[in-house]
Amino acid sequence: MAKEIPKGKGEMIIEIKHLKKSFGQKEVLKDINLEVHKGENVVVLGKSGEGKSVTIQCIVGMLTPDSGTLKVFGENVPELNEKELKELRMKIGFLFQGAALYDSMTVRENMEFPLTRVLKMKDQHEIDERVNEVLESVGLADAIDKMPSDLSGGMRKRAGLARTLIVNPEIMLYDEPTTGLDPVTSREISKLIMDMQKKYKTTSIIITHDMDCARITADRVVMMKDGEYIAEGTFKDMEHSDNEFVRSYFNKEK
């Protein structure tokens, strides 16, 4: 590690030790080690196709690691059974790269889906209240009855974020939240991530290669290369890292 790690102050929420994952002959995660503390925003930077998303897919149990420890709230995710995994997933929000809105449903129905299916809420008045509140907080109150196909890229991300936050998750995992957006909208989404983090008090891992997004959102930046985290520190620390590869991301010459 290049720098002394500025640990978060809260309890440890995610603990990853010597995580390995291969697809066929390709070793994607070679030796991943990461600790994320309560209330912290950790940004994972790295080249496309390096397997940045694989780590967060392992965290929610979408993929099973080949070896290593992956503890979330003290529970080793690969060892959880179906029911335990479902309970864990209820505490984790995952924003997909393309927002993954259910395209046969309106924005309202998209918001209602996790409330009725995951939280098993029945009271329509309460459901409406929560839907309106979360859509207002992401600035999409006017789009409540629109279909996802009628939304712009930025609006889709906002809607995806709202649908994830509506169940009040304790952890948020963002998979390239600003990819495919123009710089202005990217900054808006990055600021929205920060606003939502303050409002909903989440702990976040943000996978990105957008430096603006990293600068706005990161408490701590982790740099990934060749299936390993090669450096970590605050955004400023990383800007002035001794490692040339790390500095190249920040366009800084030494």
Partner: protein
């Protein structure tokens, strides 16, 4: 997860796929009884699968009934047996042609549409999003579609059979003059339970195969837009093949149970 991570080829891949299908069927079956049945989605799927296929099934059945009569008539006429046309038509239509043609049409329309829909949901990570949110995509997407197909295909077949008989009536009256009352009388009295019941039961399995294959192929699509087309295509081919296999088994069972 195992089949996804390990690259298999040839027979191993085929056996792995069979095992995977059994596991998928098991998940479907368990989720029927796991509580929280998605009634509104089930009704919506019945409408999509049943009501929206009615026109297509109706037109093809009408033509099929008429064509059967026009094809059969010269052969029967050579024996002076034109009077047997309603009986011949109703037996062949209800026992075999109606169920199989309806099922094949539905395999083309429904299996492909379910395969493409779930395939594109997989590609755009909608199914993953459902799963990681803690919701149950099998219950919402798979159980509703398979059960709707299992219920709707037999109903569509009954409607198709009736429309086919109407088509036959019009075709008979091109050359002969048969009253509707006489035609209905002859059709009804030509059919007994051993004609109708096995045919009805096999359509339930046709429906199950159509829904299951569409869901399995769509749900297990690979990433990439190309795989959506492949899922739809593969769903039609596999479902059609299953229809013939089920039909062959059903014929054997019917002859053992009813005609021995």
């Amino acid at each position: 997860m195992a089949t996804q991570d390990i690259e298999l080829t040839g027979w191993r891949k085929w056996f792995a796929s069979i095992g995977d299908q059994w596991l998928f069927f098991g998940r479907f079956f368990r989720n029927i009884f796991s509580g929280g049945f998605e009634w509104s989605e089930f009704v919506r799927q019945c409408y999509e699968i049943g009501y929206k296929s009615m026109m297509l099934v109706g037109i093809t059945s009408f033509i099929m009934g008429a064509v059967l009569v026009l094809q059969l008539r010269p052969s029967l006429a050579s024996f002076g047996q034109e009077g047997m046309l309603p009986k011949t038509l109703s037996v062949s239509l209800i026992r075999e042609i109606g169920p199989v043609i309806t099922a094949l049409i539905c395999a083309g329309k429904i299996s492909s549409s379910i395969g493409a829909e779930l395939g594109s949901m997989k590609v755009t990570e909608q199914i993953d999003a459902m799963e990681v949110s803690g919701a149950n995509p099998i219950q919402y997407l798979v159980v509703t579609r398979i059960l709707a197909a299992t219920l709707m295909i037999p109903l569509l077949t009954i409607i198709g059979d009736l429309i086919g008989l109407v088509g036959g009536f019009f075709a008979i009256n091109i050359n002969d003059n048969v009253s509707a009352v006489l035609y209905i009388h002859k059709c009804i009295y030509s059919i007994d339970y051993s004609d109708f019941l096995p045919a009805f039961v096999k359509t339930i399995f046709f429906g199950l195969a159509i829904g299951f294959v569409g869901c399995y192929k769509g749900y297990n699509s690979n990433r990439g837009t190309e795989s959506v087309g492949l899922s739809a295509n593969s769903a039609v081919v596999t479902a059609s093949l299953w229809i013939f296999v089920i039909d062959a088994i059903a014929v054997q069972l019917t002859s053992i149970l009813f005609y021995h």
